[in-house]
Point group: D3
Chain length 242, copies 6
């Protein structure tokens, strides 16, 4: 069924090589370098013993995320957002997505009135930075929870399930799993799918580029995403088992 | 199948009363007040004979959108973004969504090197402001195109299809069409669907609140959205026929 | 005495048609759409049970205002201030004027330690947006006070008098009442006058455009303003009586 | 008629000691330190051989002003606006007033396509900073024009008349000329008046503090202002004659 | 040894005329106009009975500084930082330097939990504004301490030593003391030296412009700085003795 | 002479282990991960065929730098500067220092009218981030120049000399080379020294913390810096030889 030849010879339903390296930096309670092919994102999880105003006194904790891209993570250097004085709409969209995705698998009451702040910084970009970020952020958050338990601050884990994400899209009529940058730039339809370890949907963001897409195309993309996320959840589990 | 009783007695698959009032203000090339129940959005379309830098010299035009909410459009007064000095992540997310949705039904080459700027300002909010905005913005854009044709600046319309949007969600296990604010606040899953007049998907944004959602739930929501958008496209057509 | 023919055939000392529509939106404690001819301003009054820092513990309340203009309220689309990241000097000047004008007729001690926030958003502009805003804001504030009394939070009204505003100016040597946009753009002298229901001055802002103006011209303008404001106060009273 | 005893023993219709010192700093084309009693404002006029966008190609020049206050010009230290990242509404209001006042006495076509930028920086504040600023700015602008003529860039002066400003107000029922800070803080009505050398009005800004003011009160204030400005124009003339 | 002829005929190891005028403005607890030749900086010291967050509850005080330059202090008018909405990197660098320099001679515990805020505003610039600012700021701070003692708020001075600063540099191979603007613009090496009254180093900032500098050149510059700062400390002492 | 025992058993005049890894990311023309012990900085060099305004038409190129720190590079998470909306004074100071240091070894005319932009992003911080950044930036810049020569855009290298940097300081009376974080936090005097490969000084920034430092102390620190920089230049050379 796949007519489009991928640049790296991958099958249309294959992920790029995935690597999840824990303990990448030493200060954060969780620190993970996640790679989807050439895309590399450093995800750190920081524990803070306070919560934002809307949670104060609620007995519940909070999990949130920030996202950034180093200026030369990309083919052409982009502006440094700190120098420009504001985060782009794209950056804010992505960090809100990461935060929501993580919160969906957390029992915030069980976390207690403390925060886990996830920082996802793209060191190298080749498509799929937000999906790699979510996939790595989960592992960093799990390490932060393990640290809280080791410190005796939590007796049981507030994490209810794993969460991972992958992009899918249609290029020249062919549905593809885990788009790299050149595929992403030329695709007709682009979908980011976030799912739990047990196969539930957490977030779904599909966008037509140029032409609209049909229900049949969506079904094909969701099947690819489901396959990819199962594999990513196995990779997360393997990384956490080390 | 519907166990949840809606506050206003609506059927679970019913839209709120829809009103699309053209010519609401006098200066803009297109000016539409769209209402989905108590949600009221003023959508104006402004024609400018120039394009943003990335389109200069391309021979193609551009369609873009900005979104805002009057401070007291909501139950509790919100900060004025102009006074705070920046647009929230939510605002940017919504205006990017509106812009992409409109561009998807425009032949930008046929528009010529000019821009249509859509302003969607929420006068009163009761859930579904972004879907009402997209639905009204299409009519305002159509009026701006009609103005361009009346002026002799365009011979044929660059609009390829209609576009409309609706929210769907699951409240207490019941899939509902076109959520109002109280439903939106208590829903488990929330999905915004943007489709063309011919039934293709343009944007799909589904978010689990608290618990993930299943494929079966998603299918039920998409069916509701499909029904709702068909009705909205008829309402757009009726408004444009006046 | 009037040599200048007004575009709409109005007498030099005539207001444009005035309309004051209460209850325009449903969430605010006071919500008024005021029109001076084609100029339309939505004025909402929001009650908050707190005061700004400089009033805390004083036992007195506060009344303040914010002003905005929808980007396409005008003939040519203006920048959205929220997107630009700051309010213009003109916007700040106007909102400070509205706030001072309202406070002048309020007994802040009788209001108690709470705030009334007035939002004046221009939906359509054709000259005189600040004077329409003040005139409508008074009615919205009166409705907010009525709401406070109906809630039992206030026994007596802290409003001491009505307040309304009108612009006057000299065009081609002719003093005119209530300038519309084309008159405003070509006037030699422009004056905004704010007066109480009992005829006292609250604010007076006169500006020479190009040539200075004489004491005699000022006297003529003040007489026109006095006449116009008497009529506006009657219109406010009629609206509040409904 | 004057019942209020002024702190410094001044008559109710007397200016504070006025000093206008030209050439206060060396780089600017015009540099004036103006004092109204303890209020001291440094006014510099800078010539630039370009105009803002809205004047390009018009053959006309531009005159504009910026205003600032050193953080400890006042009794209590205020925030530094540069550190806070924005100018206050008050600052913007004042600098717009100064610019309009100066432009009113300039023949912009005769100035040619160049700009005069006036900077008014308050070194010490004791009430009336904006009126001292306008009065000093005129002298600095006159020096910049003299410089342009000395350079052979202008054959004739584009200045049509002098311009000066003074504050007047009612304290405890007594109309006073040229309010100092303690008077300004306790006044019922405050009016800033800008007039030309030949006695025409340029700007008039009257504000009721607490209670509205009557037509008779306004007439008394305008008479005081007229007297004060005549004296200020003489002081300007004397300074320029040195 | 000096081959470079200075514009003003000064010896290579001579300071420009130094003037330190106390009580320049009346509101601040310390107010000093310091001149190094044509460079004039107004330094005010403000006492506040509170400390920044990182010092709260520590029992220690704080000394900090802000720096600014009037737009036309320079040959060509610069942007007003308050209007541009941010302080430049250069401004921040300088104000951090002034703050550190002052703190080095303060016993913060002896100051008690209060702050001294130094504002250094350049009225006229001709090179060496930061070194003049530090030299004047010390005198203003000493006056603020004297005020605190006169008020009975401090029994003993928390100032441990004097502090002053001077620039040195190499122009055309000649080491020079106290560079004026034209020398500063053409120098090969530029060094700002901050020392205490007893001859210890507080800050040292040397920068090569174009070519690196040798150890021998550095030694020559440090000897000049040492000489200059001894003279400046005498000038400070003389000013404080008045 | 060294009485202070360093935490890692290092001699007082020893660098931490230095690692310079070229080609760390794939898109930039130069990409170097430099480590001084646990301090890790990613330095990328980007070539752009344009120059900033002040260099346009000059025939000369430009070399500049930006600096950032990932929020959790440090022991405690710091604010993300992009989210806060501005770069701190410290950040701006450091990036200006890096830029000046690099420019000092570049022949900007030989570079031609193009820019090299250096981005230094701290992945992990343990003291000395600015000195590691300069040392790594030089190698990244050298790689960018090699790329320009390989592309045939430059015939000869515009780099005149190597440049490297190290921190030195006095802790408990002991002069130490290459301070790590805990040493840096407790030091009396802190100096950052930037030198060329041939031993000339480029930048020198010494700061007394608490007590001033003597000339003898400075001499001891400079000797340590000289030794350290010689070793760093060898490490740069070895890295570039691979």
């Amino acid at each position: 069924m796949s007519h489009f030849q991928r640049g790296d010879g991958r099958a249309h339903d294959a992920l790029r090589p995935v690597s999840i390296q824990r303990g990448f930096t030493r200060h954060a309670e969780g620190s993970v370098l996640v790679s989807f092919g050439h895309t590399q994102v450093l995800c750190t999880a920081s524990v803070e013993e306070k919560v934002p105003p809307h949670k104060r006194g609620s007995g519940e904790g909070w999990v949130t995320a920030e996202y950034g891209m180093l200026p030369r993570a990309t083919h052409t250097r982009g502006d440094r957002e700190a120098a420009r004085g504001k985060q782009s709409g794209r950056t804010q969209e992505i960090q809100r997505l990461i935060g929501r995705s993580l919160r969906c698998v957390f029992d915030l009451a069980a976390l207690g009135e403390r925060s886990i702040l996830i920082d996802c910084d793209v060191l190298q970009a080749d498509g799929g930075t937000r999906t790699a970020a979510i996939t790595g952020a989960y592992v960093a958050a799990a390490d932060a929870v393990a640290w809280l338990m080791a410190q005796g601050k939590l007796q049981a884990s507030p994490i209810k399930d794993a969460v991972a994400a992958v992009s899918v899209g249609i290029v020249n009529g062919t549905p593809l799993l885990d788009l790299e940058y050149t595929e992403d730039s030329s695709c007709d339809t682009d979908m980011n799918v976030v799912m739990t370890g047990s196969g539930g949907f957490v977030e779904l963001q599909g966008t037509a580029e140029g032409a609209s897409f049909s229900r049949a195309e969506m079904d094909a993309l969701l099947a690819l995403a489901d396959k990819g996320i199962r594999e990513l959840v196995l990779a997360q589990r393997a990384a956490l088992a080390k």
